[in-house]
């Protein structure tokens, strides 16, 4: 019986830690969904699936040209202007002031390899 209690304590704290990391504001009404979604892998998958369908009509607000999704840094890249828009919590942030400038000489991994 003690083992069960201890086991539950451990998993609960792990769940809380994971959830706290990924979502600062917790909805108290959905404890069940918390335990399901606390696995960070599921959250990442959900973030990626949001992105793909948006790319059909999402463009850079400055140049109105299409963007490229960079999975490693989780950003949307405009290669022409050399800027990257971050995606936070599955929501792309398309404000030009919040975009990151890509340094062309240091960031070789993000240089375009278009034909």
């Amino acid at each position: 019986m003690f083992r069960n209690v201890l086991g539950r304590l451990v998993t609960d704290t792990v769940r809380v830690h994971r959830y706290v990391k990924s979502a600062p504001v917790i909805q108290r009404l959905t404890p069940t969904s918390v335990s399901v979604r606390s696995v960070s892998d599921v959250k990442d998958e959900v973030q990626q699936s949001f992105d793909a369908s948006l790319l059909e009509f999402l463009v850079c607000p400055l140049s109105k040209k299409p963007l490229r999704y960079e999975a490693e840094t989780n950003e949307l890249i405009n290669d022409e202007l050399g800027i990257a828009y971050p995606i936070i919590g599955g929501i792309p942030n398309m404000i030009p002031q919040e975009a990151r400038l890509i340094q062309k000489d240091t960031d070789t991994s993000t240089t375009p390899t278009q034909g």
Binding site: V25, Q27, L29, T30, S33, F50, S53, L54, F57, L58, V59, C60, P61, L62, K64, P66, I88, G89, G90, I91, P92, N93, M94, I95, P96, E98
Partner: protein, 328 residues
């Protein structure tokens, strides 16, 4: 502190009596800056930044965007609760009216700008889903006595639900508001056909001719350059697309206008302080309503942006106006 606030509010009510009949060109607002509650900030930027209004204050345009951002960042968590408290739940009727006038059919794409907590997007998806179910029921009813032709057709067109998928994109400049909206969606279990984007209404991150319907509910008065937002709306809408805007406007009946003003300046900031702990943000809210152009002037602005068949519906005696225009 409370006494000086009360003096302030009384001064503002006197102000508002005068301002109600003024069609809001920028000029009377600038003279009103001397009466503004906080210190008068009538400086003009060295870079030649124009001045605009932030409630009854005068600020530079770049400052307005920052201040508006701050306001909504502060109120985001309690936004929905405050809406219910301030409008006594009537805001739900206004938004339902918007959907009713919009009458979206399954398969359309909606862009909800300044959508924040997603009220319009949720209603849109629900409406479209109930429409789809109604259609299915109608089809099922007509299929009660199917002929052999009908049955064979039915087998071949079983995957028709694909192209009928409606999508809603919620765009807002404020991350906090979108976060609250996304949480709501997750708790309601709505995820299909709903997307969230942080973007500026004056510089939308969307391609041309993409959306069937563009809505902006109670957001356009917070935009620094309304004409730019209207032009962006014109750009992203498909030809035949509809622009719809819900916004607080001028009350036509003078008796109701007085009641409304008293309620706005006496009750709303107090409610803001009690419920959200933020007097100033709600003071800004009621002041910004007074600074927004009236129904006819806004209709003119929409027509200037290139929309046709522009008309408006007054709701609750003019407290809220629903403007609608088409891109042809």
């Amino acid at each position: 502190m409370a006494a000086s606030m009360r003096l302030l509010v009384r001064r503002v009510i006197r102000l508002s009596h005068r301002n109600v009949n003024v069609t809001a060109a920028g000029l009377p607002g600038r003279s009103g800056c001397c009466w503004a509650p906080s210190s008068c900030r009538c400086f003009s930027d060295a870079a030649g930044d124009k001045n605009t209004h932030f409630g009854f204050e005068t600020v530079s345009e770049s400052e307005k965007a920052k201040k508006v951002y701050k306001v909504f960042e502060n109120v985001a968590q309690k936004y929905d609760v405050m809406n219910d408290a301030m409008s006594l739940g009537i805001h739900r009727m206004w938004k339902d009216m918007l959907l009713h006038v919009m009458h979206p059919q399954p398969g359309v794409r909606l862009l909800d700008v300044a959508g924040g907590t997603g009220d319009i997007a949720f209603r849109f998806l629900e409406y479209v889903r109930s429409q789809q179910e109604r259609q299915k029921r109608r089809v099922a009813r007509s299929m009660q006595t199917p002929s052999w032709q009908d049955i064979s057709n039915n087998y071949s067109t079983e995957e028709e639900d694909g192209p009928q998928e409606s999508t809603a994109v919620v765009c807002d400049i404020n991350k906090e508001m979108l976060k609250v909206g996304k949480q709501k969606a997750d708790s309601m279990g709505i995820s299909a056909g709903l997307s969230w984007v942080v973007g500026d209404a004056e510089e939308l991150p969307f391609d041309d001719d993409q959306f069937d319907i563009y809505t902006i509910a109670f957001g356009i008065r917070n935009v620094t350059h309304i004409d730019q937002a209207l032009q962006e709306a014109q750009r992203v809408l498909k030809p035949g697309g509809r622009f719809m805007c819900l916004e607080f406007s001028k009350v036509t009946n003078p008796v109701l206008a007085r009641l409304y003003d008293t309620y706005s300046f006496q009750m709303i900031p107090v409610l803001g302080e009690v419920i959200a702990g933020d007097w100033k943000s709600y003071q800004y809210l009621v002041e910004s309503i007074r600074k927004f152009p009236d129904q006819e002037e806004f209709k003119g602005m929409i027509e200037d942006a290139g929309f046709y068949c522009v008309r408006y519906y007054n709701l609750t005696g003019g407290v809220v106006a629903l403007h609608s225009g088409f891109k042809l």
